[in-house]
Symmetry: C2
Subunit: 382 residues, 2 copies
């Protein structure tokens, strides 16, 4: 593409945007609200840097996003650095190094920007993506899974999103089932593709001894009760059974913790998850197709149980209702400083005149103020 | 340097750090407090991206920091992008393009991260630097200069920094004086170096007809009254006189607007400013050598008057007193959800137990809680 095809009048690269006044303030206020709920549950804020050495940032859990990270040469150390495509692996690094000696459960929260190389679809996909999330490091239990989801539900309620759907998956379940079934490699591959396309006929064709089980689980995906009944009834070998039982326990704990929410379960979904090793979740506002966040269970530093959930503030604030704007009051040039101070303490925004104007009303209107201060009283500007 | 000389146990590149719990929360709270004061004065939040095309980001006012910007190839457009080393030129771009039609004075605020290539001094200089600031675009007056400084003083007071020093300079004054003096180029260069070193003897040697004036201004640098008296008395040609008068007017307006602050003036300082065209300011907490922020007057898009000031949250929160931490309350496993909700509404941080413990007091202590909730009442943990 050439530069005259760029969508932005300011010639920003595709996927990067300027947030203008109302949107930027809404996102800042909302992110602050989410983080204050996280903090109130003991999730302490950490702030890793935007850049790290490539081998640190993209090793371990970070490797899953290595093809999405921009690289930079550090002229100082002559080593390659990378811009973070995801914050969770950085939090895991901090937990495993600088906070190694801190008591578990370790509860951490964060908010910041990530940058993705993107998929070349000009203008369609965001490449700078904000993240705001929590990680609960140490415990491996359904109660821990439910705490993470419960805290996120409370945070979303704080910004006005109360009708939520949590879509649960257990990515290692299907691979474990296929691995134990003793299928020839070509059949296993064909089966994975069939499951990925939700193609029941192809599952029947390639599924061998586990075809019936997989088709039942495939058709049970959806509302939690029917999915849980199908999982309960499924004839599963031992390892797959343990994944299934944990998924059932976590679903029950989540429904107890967030009673009003919708829970759906797709027991055979396994794609789209990177470094996750247990129950995973995607969060949606009911009636919206846009994912507000995602997360799940993983191993921190390859050995410590952890569960986290990361919201995308951009998506959250497209879904959230906008609060009222504080009233703007125009202070004509020469207005006493104390008048403005009192108005600001009362929650008004004051806009100071920097010179006299023939009509202060006109000036107030021009500056989008709904009031004008005159002799210490507020005069509406119509 | 090799990696085993790196100061961080987590192998971060020099100049990049992890902010850990207490510091990260203090910086986030403080930045939020600064921005809320900016917003209360009508400075509306905008959020430009971390990356732009190199020619957009580093053209115009941005050119001054071009040698400090990391470059990246965009695989999508095959054009070079750059990580922002400064946010102010981005705000100027937004004002000149997307907000071109918005009424002036245009008041904008911002907070975000910048990344500098750095100077190769391992571990000594920060290379990821937060910025939080305001830009007042449109008016060119001493009152506008004073508003910017007054709003920043109020914001710093909000985070507990009340004893401030504003150090004013007028970078174009000396170059204009030297330009009008008709010195031979070698003498002019020698004179600039002498002024830069504050070397009065060398100023006398190379200063020709303006040596006496420059020495008087050089020796007047410091507390505002003496500097203003020396500027008033100085025999200046017309252009330099207009710079001097504007500096005097702005100093007077600033002292009237922020009566308690210390104002110092260095009339002959001209280095260290990049795209600035008028009065400039550095902000310090009294008794500290670390600059909290800087700014001044420049031309937005090369033609529109503007004045801004950018604080460095990292520096601000090293200087600011730390607020008290909200009390942490341990909720033993099985505590009713409503108990935690009420405690959080009261401003407590709650830390939920995820399983039963033989001694809940020990568990509370281990998790740094100062209280434990038992049957709905708070029990101190000693």
């Amino acid at each position: 593409m050439t530069c005259d095809q760029l969508p932005s009048p300011a010639l920003l690269p595709p996927g990067f945007i300027d947030l203008l006044p109302v949107d930027a303030q809404a996102e800042a206020n909302g992110t602050q609200a989410l983080l204050s709920v996280f903090a109130s549950h003991g999730y302490e804020r950490v702030a890793p840097p935007l850049l790290e050495f490539e081998d640190t940032l993209l090793g371990g859990a970070g490797a899953a996003l290595a093809d999405q990270a921009f690289r930079l040469m550090d002229p100082d150390t002559r080593r390659m650095m990378a811009l973070r495509p995801d914050i969770t692996p950085q939090i895991a690094r901090i937990a495993a190094t600088r906070l190694r000696a801190t008591s578990r459960p370790l509860r951490l929260s964060y908010a910041g920007q990530t940058v993705l190389v993107g998929n070349g679809t000009a203008g369609q996909n965001e490449r700078q993506i904000g993240q705001a999330g929590i990680e609960l490091i140490g415990p491996d239990s359904a109660h821990a899974d439910a705490e993470v989801i419960g805290v996120v539900a409370e945070a979303l309620a704080r910004v006005g999103i109360t009708d939520l759907s949590f879509d649960l998956t257990m990515p290692p379940l299907v691979p474990s089932l296929i691995g134990q079934a003793g299928l020839p490699p070509t059949a296993a591959t064909a089966l994975m593709h069939a499951l990925d396309r939700k193609d029941a006929a192809a599952v029947a064709e390639h599924g061998g001894s586990i075809a019936d089980t997989l088709i039942k689980l495939l058709s049970a995906a959806g509302e939690a009760d029917q999915a849980l009944a199908a999982l309960q009834a499924a004839d599963l070998p031992e390892v797959a059974r343990s994944f299934s039982e944990r998924l059932m326990q976590s679903a029950a704990a989540i429904r107890a913790r967030v009673p009003g929410c919708q829970v759906t379960i797709d027991p055979v979904e396994f794609r789209g998850w990177k470094y996750h090793t247990g129950v995973c979740v995607s969060v949606y506002a009911l009636g919206s197709q846009e994912e507000l966040g995602r997360g799940g269970r993983y191993l921190c530093n390859d050995d410590e149980p952890a569960c986290g959930l990361t919201l995308r503030p951009n998506a959250v604030f497209r879904a959230a209702p906008r609060g009222p704007h504080p009233p703007r009051v125009y202070l004509p040039f020469g207005t006493d400083e104390a008048v403005g101070r009192i108005l600001r303490e009362q929650g008004h925004v004051t806009v100071a005149g920097l010179q006299f104007h023939a009509s202060e009303e006109d000036e107030a209107r021009r500056l989008a103020c709904s009031f004008l201060s005159r002799n210490g009283t507020l005069v509406p500007v119509t």
